[in-house]
């Protein structure tokens, strides 16, 4: 066989091996497959993978054999307890080059007497080649190739091939480590997020208690002793009472915000007009007071959770009514449409509008664009709306002409 044909075959095999590594979710499974492909090709008796690990009882760095492929008729070593949990400094001749990211290649007979020679001879090895897997600048593991039938010198083609396998394995391991790390991070974020929500709930819930005392006793004081304090004193009490009222509202909003997504309601199919009619009748007083008009041009059948969608509609309608122009009767137009993968909703109003500069700010919790005197509110309404939509897997977007009106559009994905 000519040299070129060999390297051509090895090249093909290398491609095959890369695809094995790419395909396997778990690189361990890929390894067994790769070992048998390689073993048959380069004519060795054993191929094995060892990794470096830490014994948490002693803090010691150890190395153990994890996977092995053996040719027919060769004695497997995978169950040999002598080849498990060896301290990494045990066979210095063997480990030192690996720890420095160099291969270890040897004909066992030529080794000077010592631990390395004993360990290798005990496995009937005549020739050995071991390649380090170096990740993050340290030894992560190694792959070994044993010849138990002859003393051999590896050709440079074989060496290149085995090196490239090892480096492919090393990439595969790194890729999986990165994915693992990402998963760990994602989980950490999930935990932090739920802890934050829990925190917001507990904080706001527990804040109510002392606040109730402050407002309760302020009210009592006002009732019983307002005749004995002067005007200045009454003013102070007014300010304090006003403060407690606003704080109560903020705490309530915070509680509402932290409770989003905690209902265990089931999915229903209903007509959109049912929801909008309910909301309109719920807000009939407010609509009448503002001489507002709510125009609903159409309706579709929707399958989702009823109460979050209702809450979104309430918040958007409330927002339109609140930020209406003083001199113009508010008109809110609602439009709904079914698409392939989602439902689309649009709310148009003829209110004061929002400056484009503030589009990104309006969904931020406690972000207000107006003073208390202009428009009351704690700045939670739209952030709650966004959070509900996020929770449903949807998206909300705003568009507005300052002084002309605002359009809120949102989508909710259809449930499969």
């Amino acid at each position: 066989m000519s040299h070129d044909i060999v390297s051509d075959k090895l090249l093909k095999l290398n491609f095959q091996i890369i695809s094995v590594f790419l395909n396997y979710k778990n690189w361990h499974e890929g390894l067994e497959n790769v070992f048998s492909l390689v073993g048959n090709e380069v004519n060795v008796d054993r191929i094995y993978y060892w990794d470096i690990h830490i014994d948490f009882l002693t803090g010691q760095e150890l190395t153990s054999q994890r996977f092995e492929w053996v040719k027919n008729g060769i004695k497997p070593m995978i169950d040999n307890p002598e080849l498990q949990n060896l301290p990494i400094d045990v066979a210095a001749d063997f480990m030192t080059p690996l720890l420095q990211n160099n291969p270890f290649e040897s004909i066992i007979r030529e080794l000077s007497p010592g631990q390395t020679k004993e360990i290798l001879q005990a496995q009937d090895i005549l020739s050995i080649l071991v390649l380090p897997i170096y990740i993050d600048k340290k030894l992560y593991g190694f792959i070994g190739f044993d010849d138990c039938t002859k003393e051999r010198k590896w050709s440079s083609t074989e060496l290149d091939f085995l090196q490239s396998i090892t480096s492919n394995l090393s990439s595969a391991i790194q890729r999986h480590l990165a994915i693992d790390r990402l998963e760990v991070k994602t989980n950490e974020l999930k935990i932090i997020n739920s802890e934050l929500e829990q925190f917001a709930y507990i904080a706001s819930h527990d804040l109510q208690e002392p606040l109730r005392m402050v407002s309760g006793f302020l009210n009592l004081f006002e009732k019983k002793y307002s005749n004995i304090v002067d005007e200045q004193g009454k003013l102070y009490i007014d300010y304090a009472v006003d403060g407690t009222i606003r704080m109560k509202k903020i705490i309530k909003d915070l509680l509402d915000y932290s409770r989003i997504g905690k209902t265990k309601e089931s999915v229903e199919e209903f007509d959109f007009s049912e929801i909008i009619d309910n909301v309109i009748s719920l807000y009939s007083d407010k609509i009448k007071n503002k001489s507002a008009q709510v125009k609903v041009s159409n309706s579709i059948k929707i399958k989702t959770w009823r109460s979050p969608l209702t809450q979104i509609i309430i918040n958007l309608l409330d927002n339109s009514l609140k930020y209406s122009k003083a001199e113009v009767a508010p008109v809110v137009e609602v439009f709904v449409m079914e698409q392939q993968h989602h439902y689309y909703f649009q709310f148009n109003d003829n209110g004061i509008g929002i400056d484009e500069r503030y589009f990104s700010k309006i969904f931020v919790i406690f972000q207000r664009l107006h003073t208390k005197e202009e428009y009351e509110g704690s700045g939670v309404g739209l952030s709650i709306t966004k959070k509900i939509i996020d929770n449903l897997g949807g998206k909300i977007s705003v568009n507005s002409d300052l002084g002309k009106g605002t359009t809120f559009s949102f989508i909710i994905p259809k449930l499969q």
Binding site: H205, R212, M213, S215, G216, F217, L220, K223, L255, T263
Partner: protein
């Protein structure tokens, strides 16, 4: 049926917060509701009290229980559950007092047959509304003129 004239009604307030006790007392005073207010500060003692009074002085059984949900050791829901399971005690109207509008608290209270659910601090109008729902003979006579 001729109502038995009572001078005042006996209210058992189960509440651990000193401030809320004072506020409740003031609200009842403000509503000119002639009452004898017994305060017990935790669920365990409240149950002990009810058990004792049931066996020794049935006439002393309170006409109304105001029961805070958030109590140390044995909470209001557990006290309510106990009252509800006792054939004699379950006749007493119980108003649950809560500092939250947590859906869960309201649901549990309804499940336990609480007569009414009130937010703290006790609001006189809400309290009177609750009283109005009790179908009991002493209702007509609780107000001092």
């Amino acid at each position: 049926m001729v109502p038995i004239k009572k001078k005042s009604i006996k209210i058992l307030l189960i509440e651990d917060n000193e401030g809320d006790i004072i506020l409740t007392r003031e609200t009842l005073k403000e509503g000119k509701i002639s009452n004898e207010l017994i305060c017990i500060k935790d669920g365990e003692s409240a149950i002990d009290f009810l058990v004792k009074i049931k066996s020794f002085a049935i006439s002393e059984i309170p006409d109304l229980v105001l029961l805070d949900i958030n109590l140390p050791r044995i909470n209001g829901h557990e006290v309510m559950d106990f009252i509800n399971k006792d054939e004699i005690l379950r006749e007493i109207p119980v108003f649950m007092l809560s500092s939250s509008d947590a859906q869960k608290d309201v649901e549990v209270s309804i499940k336990n047959n609480a007569h009414h659910y009130l937010f703290k601090p006790l609001d006189l109008d809400a309290f009177m509304l609750g009283i109005g729902k009790i179908n009991s003979f002493w209702l007509n006579i609780i107000k001092i003129n």
